[in-house]
């Protein structure tokens, strides 16, 4: 931030050449050339309304160059050929020539007895494919300072599947420039759109579509860090962080599916669900803190956002590995089942009392007296630490950007402990939600199990392992596609 001050200060030293515009002057300054392109697509054609607004100085320069005194027809001749030549419209990669239909130049009184110029041109072109992908570029006055606006709309049954440009002008086609202090003059010289008959006209812009939904939550959590002081506020902040974490866990990803599938397949019990939840929570907190530290101290070596694709790849690879390992173990298990069918029944019998005696079961676990549920080949403990670790890694290694922002914000505000506490609460919320999902899944399995006399229990492990493999493949594939190579 200091840098801004420092550089701005140099302005006064030697430069000071510009004349700031006052009231009455052109709202965007006397030097500006402002341009607007309004594209309107119908089924087989495009109509472009192109407007230019030249402030006093460029008007003076142009009139000088064209030797104009009163009659503006040379301006119309000049722009009549220049404007279409510098508008580059492509439909599915092929240039669409734009034909000039009409052009009007109007001279207005500007400041200090000078003049300003407004030019309005109407152009048309043919669009062969009503489902075309469109790209548009305005290269008129490319170097000149000024407002650059592009608007894309569709009429007559034509529609837009997507568009990078808005569907209406914020400046009323260069007639009324917004004076809002918090907006910069747009400098949009390129736009893309995908046509599709019947799609909602002007369905808005792509990036907005993507950011919707979770962003509300994200913003709320991130703003917690800015709240200050009293114990109540801190308590509420921590509760909110917990809630945000829980909701975050219920969003897509986050190893929830993996964990559920794993628990079901591995015949995990409630305790495992809790352990997995805790492990994911710890992993996530660690991951956020570590990436936070990297961001703070090591990011001149590499950009932290560059880590994300790799972490995603690691996460995917771990899931894939876990799935393959489980699949191998479980196909072996199924083999063993056939041999030890008898044993299995016995086991089922002896499993029920556990449900009625959770306390003693838990105690047995706590004392390390766990057993292998009998039917697994020796050495393969599916609810082992290794497996739980893998789930924790897959579910927690990818830090939630929101949590990271909170941590960095807290560091910047000298509230490191508060920040870590919030991230912790976020992670605990995340873990609680995951554990909850795990418990619900286990309960459902138990119910199904009782109804189907254990048939499902026998099939589930392999099916869930296969599901994990598929998920792992998908995550890894997605991560590979997203690698910045």
């Amino acid at each position: 931030m200091k840098k801004l001050v420092r550089l701005a200060l140099v302005v006064g030293t030697v430069a000071a050449v510009w004349a700031p515009a006052n009231a009455g002057a052109h709202p965007l300054g006397n030097f500006t050339v402002n341009a607007y392109s309004g594209l309107e697509f119908s089924r087989d054609a495009v109509a472009v309304h192109y407007a230019l607004d030249l402030a006093e100085i460029p008007t003076f320069q142009l009139f000088n160059e064209l030797d104009i005194d009163g009659d503006v027809s040379p301006v119309e001749t000049r722009f009549g050929s220049d404007i279409p030549a510098n508008l580059w419209l492509e439909s599915d990669g092929e240039r669409v020539p734009l034909e000039l239909q009409e052009i009007h130049a109007v001279v207005n009184e500007g400041q200090a007895g000078l003049q300003t110029l407004r030019v309005d041109a109407e152009l048309t072109g043919d669009i062969a494919d009503p489902d075309a992908t469109i790209s548009f570029r305005d290269r008129n006055f490319a170097d000149r300072v000024g407002w650059r606006e592009i608007v894309i709309d569709a009429i007559d049954g034509q529609g837009l599947r997507s568009s990078s440009a808005p569907d209406s002008s914020v400046s009323d086609e260069l007639r009324d420039y917004p004076t809002d202090l918090l907006s910069s003059p747009p400098h949009i010289t390129e736009a893309t759109a995908r046509l599709h008959p019947g799609a909602l006209p002007g369905s808005g812009n792509e990036s907005r579509d993507v950011a919707e939904g979770p962003s509300i939550l994200r913003d709320r959590f991130a703003s917690l860090i800015e709240r200050s002081g009293s114990p109540w506020v801190i308590l509420v902040a921590i509760l909110l962080a917990f809630g945000a974490g829980a909701l975050h866990a219920l969003g897509p990803g986050h190893g929830k599916t993996v964990m559920a599938a794993y628990l079901v397949g591995a015949e995990g019990r409630a305790r495992q669900a809790v352990v997995v939840g805790t492990a994911v929570s710890l992993m996530h907190t660690t991951s956020v803190v570590v990436l936070g530290l990297i961001t703070l101290w090591a990011s001149n070596v590499f950009a932290p956002e560059a880590v994300y694709p790799w972490l995603a790849l690691a996460s995917g690879a771990v899931v894939l590995g876990l799935g393959l390992w489980l699949l191998r173990a479980r196909t072996a298990t199924r083999h063993a089942h056939r041999v030890h069918e008898h044993d299995h029944h016995e086991h089922d019998h002896h499993q029920h009392p556990h449900d009625h005696d959770k306390a003693s079961h838990a105690r047995a676990h706590a004392l390390g007296l766990d057993h292998d549920h009998g039917h697994l080949p020796d050495g393969v403990r599916l609810t082992s630490w290794k497996g739980l670790g893998a789930i924790a890694v897959s579910g927690g290694i990818l830090p939630s950007p929101t949590a990271l922002v909170v941590l960095l914000g807290a560091v910047a505000l000298h509230r490191v402990v508060f920040g870590i506490a919030l991230v912790g609460a976020f992670s605990v919320g995340l873990a609680a939600a995951l554990t909850g999902v795990g418990l619900v899944v286990l309960k459902t399995k138990d119910v199904l199990n009782r109804r189907s006399n254990g048939r499902i229990t026998r099939l589930l492990p392999v099916m869930s392992a296969a599901a994990i493999v598929c998920l792992g493949l998908f995550l890894t594939g997605q991560a590979v596609v997203n690698l910045p190579l």
Partner: protein, 439 residues
């Protein structure tokens, strides 16, 4: 205060990081969406950083849209100032001014807003006003080098060089950075210490980590210093480096055009200046192009450019902007609007008794044939011993008009030895006058 700013910097960085961290995850889905702002570690330290200006502006706008705060408003104002300067887009300046006022309404002692108002006042050539804002900022925050910078600028332009030197010493003690070294360079230049000025600008250059146009700007300042001392080859190197750092930036192009003209490649110089004027038709640039046309004997084109200068002046006056000293010198050079030019120069001098205003008044009086009055101000302009070809030339011409051939010849040859190509048109006149003085 520093702590508050540090907190703000952190907050901004955090917001930026939100954008930076989220986008890569989502960008792949949209691919064609906007570039994610670059996240730089330095933004989290109070030293400042490589966060791009546009990204900074965007995040501050976003932050202020959520809730207003004076600190954010003043920071955005400063960012607008820089954006306006780099992009040569003056529409940002009134916005910056309104933000500073808004910020001061919320927090009357916001030092950044006070500094911002001082910068704007100085940019409008209202240096007395700038000095007031600078003093106020320095009172609120006695250890702010930036506040002192405003004070120094105002004092220099008001011609209070001794006071300026004292404040500048203070400033560089607080912060030996680009801002203080660039000012030291300028003061040394005024005091006739050319080598010292160049040395200070080298230090300034070393103190910047800027890239692109910021970097190019500093390089061109150094290039101009070399040029002013007739070291054209070194000047060219700096202009070239500046052009390489920011190929679309007009400032290095002006330098390269000046160098081309010095080498006698006038056509090339015209081509470069046409490019500059098509993008940024400031009065100084337009005058240079007009002079080049005039040198080439293309009076019609030269007059067209001069008419544009005239239009600029009318606009500036209509907007209540105090006219540049350069414009006064231009009118005197071309013997235009003689009576009014003298009045204008007198008003400028009365407002502030600086080297440049004294020189402009002397030159305006000379073009009006009032040589006796002229020499008083020309000598006044020489009071710091500034080694500047234009000042030598002006004083030499006036001495010659008064019949002081020996002094005139001395001054004119000093001008031409120091910087033979100090002006596209006036260098030639200086040669003729020198011949006349020696006869």
């Amino acid at each position: 205060m520093t702590r508050r700013r540090w907190v703000l910097a952190g907050g901004v960085a955090a917001v930026m990081f939100a954008a930076g961290a989220l986008l890569p995850l989502r960008a792949h889905l949209t691919s064609a969406s906007s570039r994610p702002p670059r996240v730089a570690p330095q933004t989290l330290t109070p030293v400042g950083g490589a966060l791009s200006l546009d990204a900074t502006i965007e995040s501050l706008q976003e932050r202020l849209r959520r809730h207003r705060d004076p600190a954010g408003e003043s920071q955005l104002g400063l960012a607008y100032l820089q954006k306006g300067r780099l992009g040569a887009d003056p529409s940002y300046f009134p916005k910056a001014g309104r933000l500073f006022r808004l910020s001061l309404r919320g927090d009357p002692s916001n030092v950044d807003a006070l500094i911002g108002r001082g910068l704007l006042a100085n940019a409008r050539h209202r240096f007395a006003e700038g000095l007031r804002w600078g003093h106020e900022a320095a009172m609120v925050s006695p250890y702010s080098a930036d506040a002192l910078g405003v004070v120094v600028d105002s004092l220099v332009e008001l011609g209070r060089y001794r006071a300026a030197t004292g404040e500048l010493q203070h400033m560089v003690d607080l912060k030996p950075n680009l801002a203080s070294f660039a000012r030291i360079s300028y003061l040394r230049e005024l005091e006739g210490d050319g080598d010292g000025a160049i040395q200070a600008m080298h230090l300034a250059l070393r103190a910047t980590q800027e890239t692109g146009e910021d970097h190019a700007w500093v390089l061109c300042q150094l290039g101009d210093l070399y040029y002013a001392h007739g070291r054209y080859a070194q000047a060219k190197e700096e202009y070239r480096a500046g052009h390489a750092a920011a190929p679309d930036y007009y400032v290095p192009l002006v330098g390269l055009a000046k160098f081309a003209a010095a080498e006698g490649r006038l056509g090339d110089a015209v081509r470069k200046m046409r490019r500059v004027v098509a993008v940024y038709p400031s009065a100084v640039n337009v005058i240079l192009l007009g002079d080049l046309y005039s040198r080439l004997g293309n009076d019609e084109q030269a007059d067209a450019q001069y008419a544009l200068v005239e239009a600029q002046r009318r606009l500036a006056e209509a907007n209540g902007v105090v006219t540049d000293v350069e414009l006064t010198v231009f009118y005197a050079d071309h013997h235009r609007r003689i009576g009014r030019t003298v009045a204008l120069a007198r008003a400028q001098y009365d407002a502030r008794d600086s080297i440049r205003t004294a020189d402009a008044l002397a030159w305006a009086l000379y073009s009006a044939g009032r040589y006796h009055e002229a020499i008083t101000y020309a000598r006044r302009a020489a009071r710091l011993g500034t080694r500047d070809a234009l000042l030598y030339y002006h004083r030499g011409a006036i001495e010659l008009a008064l019949g002081h051939e020996r002094v005139a010849a001395q001054l004119l040859s000093r001008a031409l030895e120091l910087n033979p190509h100090f002006s596209v048109l006036q260098s030639g006149v200086a040669h003729e006058l020198l011949q006349e003085a020696r006869r």
